[in-house]
Amino acid sequence: MTAVLAEAPGTPAVDAAARHRAVLALARVETVRMLRHPVTVAATLLLAGFWVSSWFAIGTSRYPVLQDLDRDSAIGMMILLGGAALIVGNLAVLRAHRDGTTGLSQVLILPDRARTVAHLFAPLPLAVLGAVLIVARMAILAICTPAAGHPNPYELATGPATVLLLGALGVLLGRLTRSAVVAPLALLVVLAGLAVLEPLANGGKALWLAPQGGSVLPMPVPVSLMGRPAAAHFAYLLGLAGLLSAAAVLRAGARGVRVAVAGVVALACAVAGGTAQLSAPGHAVVAARTAAMNHPSQYETCRELGHVAYCAFAGFSRWIPAWNTVVQAVVAQVPATARSARLTIRQRIVFVSLGGGKGPEQLLAAWRSDNAAAGTPGAIGIDTQWGDSRSAADLAAQVAYRLVTGRAGEAHVEQGAELAGATACGGAGVLVVWLAGQAGTQARTGLRRLTEDGRDPRGGVSFDQNQLIPSVYVPAPELTVATQALARPRADIAARVQRSWATLTAPGTTAAQAAQILGVPAPAAGTAC
């Protein structure tokens, strides 16, 4: 009797330790079941397969901008691995009901809430797997490609955090309803949010409350100008995951200090992260963005290759050799006399939110004065995206225009406040397109796509320095002549270009005359240049 009495106070402690071990053992079982579930395996393979295939399918992925790709990767992970965690976690909770073991599990020593905790632990290793995958992707790209910039670790962590969040949501839904259709439908709501929250929020801060976070800038920018509250968003997501977990455990019947503490901590985390991410980017970031947009030369480092100076923002200089290949290919087709001009290729960025109203004109004026200040008049603009055929064609055509006319193509505001590039008329226009076609297969492909699918409403093609600012416009007749010349044997046309360079580049030469010089049929309609 005394022995029993003496032992009694120790019993609850032993029970608690045993329960912890039991929960851990159960969590291990659930973890393995989740990792081995066909849905998880398929989703992981799909994610990895998508990442690998994008290398072959998307040109820009060979010149990745890591500070943009981190978010992309995290969203892919949310859809696939997060979706798997949601579905599989929910099926695991519903298993007892589905297999008719509810009666059995109600009388087990390990209570419902302990089993819920085990279910909540199950997505952890999947999140770790996601973290490994996303870090591996970044590492491979950073090592094997001329990648620009570097990823934000918090942005990367968003992916695994959404796996935890959706996993917790799956468990909570399983606790709230026995219907197996609810979790898949919840996933579809998340997907619908991905599709339309951006226009719904109208670029507002409220978008940060969604798991995918706020919208991205219209084009890649240097790391220092990103200004994304990724750390706060990460904390917000973890807080939400904690809140959903606490709700699931509460629903499973847990009452007690620890659940309350966990819930309060999660709430604090979610509220702190949620409010921090909603505050506007600091004045410093806004000022830096404006300065970098208006006076790019002050933030760039330049590198001379031959007669060409390449000025790139921090992190983007690994692309210079690729730019140089395109530029030199164009220069090589120009007679030696016309090559003497010193060329500058300058990277430029535009924050569309800062450029509204009279913005475009002011911006173009700012760029002119920036060039003057840097001693690089007539610098050719280039984008913060590279690797696709369009970018190569754009650069090649701008370089060709500069060599043919001696001026850099520059946008001006046409009637209706539309921006339009400098029009390349007659022989000059024909030469611009033909020279652009000499800048390698990428540029050639880009030219063909522009000609076939991407015509300007006026009928010709527009070559841009970035998605927002056009640079050179070649009207339809010039384009037709050049396209025919590109279809002829290269050596023949190259010889004619060398011979008649002066005539072709003379301002008065029409497209029809250029066609005659190059030996191709004249265009049907005269140009309105």
Partner: protein, 211 residues
């Protein structure tokens, strides 16, 4: 089996089918398309096309529960073949889903900010929705062959989502999910038609009891 048996089966089958997932999917699908459209005019027809697709997936998910049959062991060796039993279920659900789809697209076109909705490619989206529905049914019928307790949805519903995920990422020239402005839009719908035919054949094949 005769036509009279099929007719007699309609009522008890309607009673036996789990309608709740279907109703939940239809309700959510309707909301997913109509609520954003009512809230903002900034949606383009690309946005609305995506939403209409998600709405169709919602109902396809509901349809993945259509062949669930807890009494499947009791009906294992009845003279009425499984194909007939499945077709009765489809005959019950098919018109309801068609009506829902017409209503959803109709409301999307006539309510809210319907400037973009006016350009919704209705015929193409209907083909896609039909394919998704047929795929869900085919997966359920395949699950029927593999399960003994008649709980086909536990396999079919996740499988629907997985197939959709695969379809979403399919590359050229077998791509399925495109924006309406894409130059390959028409070509992609030949792929959709082929997928629909495949799904229907798979449904009929899987519903057929092995000889």
């Amino acid at each position: 089996m005769n036509a009279r048996t099929l007719y007699l089966l309609l009522r008890p089958t309607a009673h036996a089918v789990k309608w709740r997932p279907m109703v939940a999917g239809a309700t959510l699908g309707l909301a997913i398309l109509l609520v954003p459209e009512a809230l903002t005019s900034r949606l383009t027809d690309a946005h609305l096309t995506t939403l209409a697709r998600i709405a169709a997936i919602c109902v396809a998910l509901g349809a993945a529960f259509l062949l669930d049959d807890p009494a499947t062991r009791s009906t294992l060796t009845v003279p009425t073949p499984r194909l007939a039993r499945n077709l009765v279920r489809v005959a019950l659900a098919g018109p309801a889903v068609a009506l829902w789809w017409a209503l959803t697209l109709g409301l999307a076109k006539t309510t809210g900010h319907h400037a973009a909705a006016a350009h919704l490619p209705v015929a193409a989206l209907t083909l896609e929705a039909a394919t998704l529905l047929a795929t869900a049914l085919a997966l359920s019928a395949i699950a029927q062959r593999r399960t003994v307790d008649g709980n086909t949805s536990v396999v079919a519903a996740p499988a629907v989502l997985l197939l959709v995920a695969v379809a979403w990422f399919l590359p050229h020239p077998v791509e399925l999910v495109l924006r309406p402005t894409d130059p390959h839009w028409t070509a992609s719908h030949y792929n959709w038609a082929a997928a629909l035919a495949t799904a229907l054949v798979a449904f009929l094949w899987a519903s057929h009891e092995r000889a």
